[in-house]
């Protein structure tokens, strides 16, 4: 895999990660609750930035951990069987996203989460009043969505593992920057005076498109990696 190809796949994996909505939902609830309590704009901005920093930190830590584990398990090169298993995981997660990422026939942007857990996260988000809590909430929001975001994170880890150390840092930074882009955009929109209702309405209107796009992108990425890393490598005689 060439460096350009690696970065292109990394960008696609990060874009898939960015389309996941749990962190965005939690930021929407956090902002909505702060606005309803008439919190000062600077305080709301601080809470939102802390939340996004928490999300960015957990994504960076997860990606670095996965990459480190893979580098320690497979010293020289990743076996084809691992690539094949990852492709299977991506196709499976892609189909799962198509099937139940958003609840069927539900209003708003109700996600796949069990209702008890969603209520707990929602209540916890509403009780958040300090930046430290908000940072912690950002960390938790990534862990809570591991079921879906592990697939692009593992792909990112596999790709990073094949790069040189300076490019690994660049790749990690690029992945995190793209994955938190939706949160940054929402913070900027709220900071510039846009209504939360407009943002939520946009999310609701486009939820099926985002669901289809994320699922399809995962299936396509899985197919591409299968062809380039399993079939093509196999035809060249690599294990």
């Amino acid at each position: 895999m060439t460096t350009h190809e690696s970065f292109a796949l990394l960008v696609l994996a990060a874009a898939i990660h960015a389309s996941f909505q749990l962190s965005v939902s939690m930021l929407t609830i956090l902002s909505g609750h702060a606005l309803s309590a008439k919190t000062a704009n600077t305080r709301l901005l601080g809470l939102s930035i802390s939340f996004a920093s928490g999300v960015a930190s957990m994504i960076a830590l997860s990606l670095a951990l996965i990459s480190l584990l893979l580098a320690n398990i497979f010293y020289s090169s990743v076996p084809r069987i691992v690539w094949a298993a990852v492709c299977g995981l991506m196709v499976g997660v892609g189909v799962a996203i198509w099937t139940y990422y958003y609840r069927h026939q539900s209003r708003g942007t109700i996600l796949w989460l069990p209702r008890g857990f969603a209520r707990y996260l929602s209540e916890r988000t509403k009780k958040t009043s300090t930046r430290q809590e908000s940072f912690g909430l950002g960390l938790v929001s990534v862990i809570a969505e591991y079921l879906f975001c592990l697939a692009p994170l593992i792909v990112g880890g596999l790709i990073l593992q094949n790069l040189t150390p300076p490019l690994q840092i660049l790749g990690l930074t690029l992945y995190v920057a793209i994955a938190v882009l939706p949160l940054v955009v929402i913070i900027m929109l709220l900071g510039s005076g846009h209504s939360l209702a407009v943002i939520q309405k946009w999310r609701e209107t486009n939820k099926r498109f985002l669901q289809f796009a994320a699922g399809s992108a995962l299936v396509i990425l899985g197919g591409y990696i299968y062809v380039s890393m399993v079939i093509a490598a196999g035809s060249q005689g690599n294990l």
Partner: protein, 95 residues
Amino acid sequence: MNTSEPPLVYDPATGRSDVFSGERLYATVTSACHVIGMADGIIPETAARVCRAIETWLGERAEVTRSDIRRRTSEQLAIMSAEAGYMLDNKNAIM
């Protein structure tokens, strides 16, 4: 039915019925108005109008569900501010 008594509000999530609280409704509507950044000066009048409309509607009923009240309140609020009505209606449908 004795219309002088406040109606009961049934919550299917908990299976309990509580007496309708006008103050709570007023606070909910006010919060929805704050979320969309409505000017402070018109929020009390907006909330009072919505509460009056809901109390009139409740006068004909002995028991309603929490979602009935939410739906009716968001409809009334949407007459004055579509965005606030939308946020109130989708309050529990964000995640």
